[in-house]
Symmetry: C2
Subunit: 264 residues, 2 copies
């Protein structure tokens, strides 16, 4: 079994929250350096990366009322697709600079939807990239929807689509890591909730803070709900802060204890 770890670089972590189309290049470059070291160390593991849209995708999505089904704006569709792809280029560029053979996997070119759920999903390119020992980088994107014109699939939702396909091809998805701009899931007292499971989710839901910033894909609640669906397949998710100097990602991958939220 080939081991796989999926890592999401959160959009609000790698872009400036209040500045449209502005990436935090220092954060992205620091993450690229850390990921390069990890890939070099853990040679038995395949990494699939994903980046959120941050202010590159959420800003045009808001501007063109993309979430308002009564105001379908096809120019807005194009603008969101462009913004999402722009940020993905910046992320891939930073990874290439560190010598990682990173390749984009563009969701709007290989996924379509029907009424907000997957209609078709072309997996040949993904498996080709994995076969070639490349590091795929997907991202939250706007895709064609045969009922609703278009649908936004977040990086989390795309991970949900990819995981069963990976399992079918006998890849073992070991864990999912979300690098976010916060230290984990916070409760009403701004304390980190260390563990979330089906058992305590109803209670947790009452107390969690909404994540800041413009996010048309649902913020932290969306992350938790998607993570609980991964957990049903035995795949844990770790939500940790990505923009600090503590190298939490490296520590987590070396099985050291890190501050953050685990969802099982």
């Amino acid at each position: 079994m080939k081991k796989i770890i999926l890592i999401k670089l959160g959009g609000s972590l790698i872009t400036e929250k209040d500045k449209p189309y502005t990436s935090r290049d220092d954060v992205i470059n620091q993450l690229a350096i850390e990921i390069k070291k990890i890939i070099t160390t853990k040679k038995d593991t395949i990494f699939i990366l994903g980046n959120g849209g941050g202010s590159f995708a959420h800003y045009p999505a808001k501007k063109y009322h993309i979430q308002d089904k009564t105001k379908k704006d096809l120019f807005g569709y194009a603008a969101v697709q462009d913004g999402a792809a722009q940020l993905n280029r910046i992320v891939v560029g930073a990874l290439l600079k560190q010598g990682i053979p990173a390749v984009s996997l563009h969701p709007s070119s290989f996924v379509t939807a029907s009424g907000g759920v997957k209609k078709a999903f072309f997996t040949d390119s993904l498996f080709g990239q994995l076969h070639n020992h490349l590091t795929p980088v997907i991202y939250g994107d706007i895709v064609f929807d045969e009922k609703d014109s278009y649908h936004i699939f977040s990086t989390e939702a795309l991970f949900s689509l990819i995981i069963p396909e990976l399992r079918k091809e006998h890849y073992q998805v070991e864990k999912i890591i979300h690098l976010t701009s916060v230290a984990g899931v916070l409760d009403a007292k701004k304390q980190i909730i260390p563990l979330i499971s089906q058992q305590n989710f109803v209670e947790v839901k009452k107390h969690i803070f909404k994540t800041k910033g413009t996010d048309v894909t649902g913020g932290m609640l969306h992350k938790i709900e998607t993570a609980l669906s991964y957990a049903k397949n035995g795949i844990p998710t770790y939500i940790i802060q990505g923009d600090n100097k503590q190298k939490l990602l490296t520590k987590l991958l070396l099985n050291q204890e890190v501050i953050g939220t685990t969802i099982v």
Copy 2:
């Protein structure tokens, strides 16, 4: 029948030949303005655009010996994919600036190959974009090849893959236009050859000049051979200069006579 015209913006037209990763933004912007006017005028016609790789794709392809099957370089694969996608973003950005709802269609995410020919081709995203009245912009790209690790599909080759799919869905492909950095196909005396067909191709082949610049997809001969294959399906190709102030594209689409090469 929905009428379709495919237009290729040649890579050596829209990038600086001798400068890697340098786009000719003035040329791209001028073309975007012209295309906007054409789309507004010809409301009964759907346009699919494509851009070549120019110095964005051909430079890394040469650097990493992408065409040398004995020196497979997977970092090179990633670098070529990145370069091609970078230029496509610039082109799409210029089209969006003119109000065209341009969307990228990324070949490496929806096409795979086997021994240099198409293996799988996911058409749902393309037809979704057309259904949504968006303007797809494809580009020459490096894709997974199950036998040769990877394969470069030029924009021309991708048009060849797309045309039969369009016809199956009852789109009528009216013509193909190549906007190039030269005024047409030139003979040994640097005179434009006005008409190329199966009948005179053998003779023409002896006399044509190779196009200048780094081009790993075969240059002018490749364009002609691909165009002759379109012609077998009754689709003419026009090779005209794209970087002049004569608005040849507009004139051609208004059925005015223009200088260039027609391949039938």
